[in-house]
């Protein structure tokens, strides 16, 4: 079933409350997906690149991170099973390769985006990572009921396959293996067997080829088969698209202060000013997109 939420703030005054609002929305969607949960937060931008990594044995794996990757112009922040390393952009690829060589899993990278995801109930996952206290401009979250692949940290959403890009998905793709092979032929590789990661990689590869996010989302309607409601984030944008059959639920709300997305209206109940918001169901095969 899965639950998805997203929140894109239009007013800077609300930014300190992003994590709190998004966590409430995510926890409300627990009964749509209690297997695992994840959240991507677009927070303060750094000069270099923030790389978020995960480890099942953080006590051992993260003990020497500061010594190895810290120093002037770099930071290492450990949060439970995740660590966020800030490094100069020119060194990012090298650092990412060294982190992966140490057996750490890369959740995502970006000037603004940080991704936290784990197996477990959404409330516990959000508490472990202190999501409520995080500020930012926009964010997306997911509560997973696993259908296409195993219940593991790597199978949790959001999936990130490009800097500051991430995607959450409700549904299941039926041509993901074929698309995975096509993408691999272009040199775009995925880390998991998960269908959603293929959706994310498809969008990243289209953007890398020069498409706008809007065009890449239009492309999903042509090239991806199956059921999907996708919610995507980029450094400055927030987009939504549903397949032409549109049997996966989706509802959106917009006020002068924010745009919100959720699988169900329940997730909006505590948002400020929701009583006066424009609330609507996104049309099938239609791309919705906001930029700041």
């Amino acid at each position: 079933m899965c639950g998805i939420v997203g929140l894109f703030l239009k007013k800077t005054e609300l930014r300190p409350r992003l994590g709190d609002m998004l966590t409430d929305m995510l926890v409300t969607m627990t009964d749509r997906g209690p297997d695992s949960a994840g959240i991507a937060i677009y927070g303060d931008e750094v000069d270099g690149l923030k790389i978020t990594v995960q480890s099942d044995t953080p006590a051992e794996d993260f003990a020497t991170l500061e010594a190895e990757f810290g120093g002037a112009g770099r930071t290492v922040r450990v949060v439970d099973t995740h660590a966020v390393l800030t490094v100069p952009r020119a060194e990012a690829a090298d650092v990412a390769a060294r982190l992966e060589a140490r057996g750490l899993r890369i959740m995502g990278a970006g000037a603004s985006m940080e991704i936290f995801k784990e197996v477990g109930r959404p409330e516990e996952v959000a508490a472990r990572f202190g999501i409520r206290a995080m500020g930012g401009s926009h964010g997306i979250g997911h509560t997973r009921m696993a259908t296409e692949s195993a219940v593991t940290t790597l199978g949790a959403h959001p999936f990130s396959t490009g800097d500051d890009q991430c995607l959450v998905h409700n549904g299941s793709l039926s041509n993901h293996n074929q698309m995975r092979r096509k993408l691999a032929g272009k040199g775009v590789f995925t880390r998991t067997e998960n269908d959603t990661e293929v959706g994310a990689a498809y969008i990243s590869s289209r953007i890398a080829e020069g498409a706008t996010l809007g065009e890449a989302l239009e492309g999903t309607l042509r090239d991806l088969d199956g059921f999907f409601t996708f919610v995507t984030g980029t450094r400055t944008g927030f987009g939504v698209v549903r397949d032409p059959i549109a049997c996966k639920p989706a509802v959106m709300a917009e006020t002068e202060d924010y745009v919100a997305f959720a699988s169900e209206y329940r997730a909006f109940a505590d948002l400020p000013g929701i009583g006066a918001a424009r609330v609507w169901e996104p049309e099938p095969a239609t791309v919705y997109f906001w930029e700041r």
Binding site: C247, Y265, V279, W280, P284
Partner: protein, 227 residues
């Protein structure tokens, strides 16, 4: 009139209170505060009571309704008034997917838009939508009337049986075995009556009627292209 605050009363208790009215032969008026998008609000009612829901609800609001009048002062999620037998359900805002699905009687009056699959497999219910409806509406609809003041999405009335569809606006496409039909005096008088009942601001002459071409009732290999 009894007001129940859903912020402090469990959903099961709310529905049990409403359902108890039938056993007690009761009538009455109930107001439900703070529905906050909850699922299965005011389901299984079986008495001529009136329920006002002060806000938006989630899935299956007023499902299986019999005799009761349920008015939602907000929007509703998927499956509102599913399998309604009689009575009336009114939605001030929009309705999500499969509104009035399999409904057998009564009136579902949606003042906003309805999404895809509105009236899917309807079996006698009357549905009035003041706004637009989405794709695959009235799919396999068997009996009853779907009246739409706005536009209809793709594949209206696919595999339709004897339900009657009236649309005032544009129809993006008709589904298999659905065709436009002549508007006769009986249809105009029916529309006049139901539009008045639904408080809809439209004239019967503005609508076009769609119904089954009856080619798919029995399998015939000559019609294979139509499936």
């Amino acid at each position: 009139m009894l007001t129940i605050d859903m912020a402090t009363t469990a959903l099961r208790e709310v529905n049990a209170t409403l359902q108890a009215q039938a056993r007690e032969g009761g009538q009455g008026r109930f107001v439900l505060d703070n529905p906050r998008g909850a699922h299965a609000v005011a389901v299984g009612l079986d008495a001529p009571i009136e329920v006002i829901v002060k806000g938006s609800t989630g899935y299956y609001c007023a499902g299986m309704n019999k005799h009761a009048t349920v008015r939602v002062e907000g929007s509703v999620g998927p499956g509102v008034a599913e399998n309604m037998m009689s009575g009336e359900v009114e939605v001030a805002g929009d309705a999500s997917q499969y509104a009035g699905a399999t409904g057998r009687g009564g009136l579902l009056n949606i003042r906003g838009n309805a999404s895809s699959r509105c009236g899917i497999s309807m079996k006698g219910i009357d549905i009035v939508v003041h706004g637009n409806i989405g794709h695959m509406s009235a799919f396999m609809a068997q009996k009853g009337n779907l009246v739409v003041l706005g536009d209809a999405g793709d594949a209206l009335g696919d595999s339709l049986y004897e339900a009657r569809l009236f649309v005032r606006g544009a129809v993006r496409s008709l589904g298999a075995d659905c065709e436009e039909k002549e508007m006769r005096a009986e249809h105009l008088s029916f529309l006049k009556e139901i539009l008045a009942r639904a408080g809809a601001d439209a004239a019967p002459e503005e609508f076009r009627r769609y119904g089954s071409a009856r080619k798919l009732y029995h399998f015939n290999v000559d019609n294979a292209d139509a499936y």
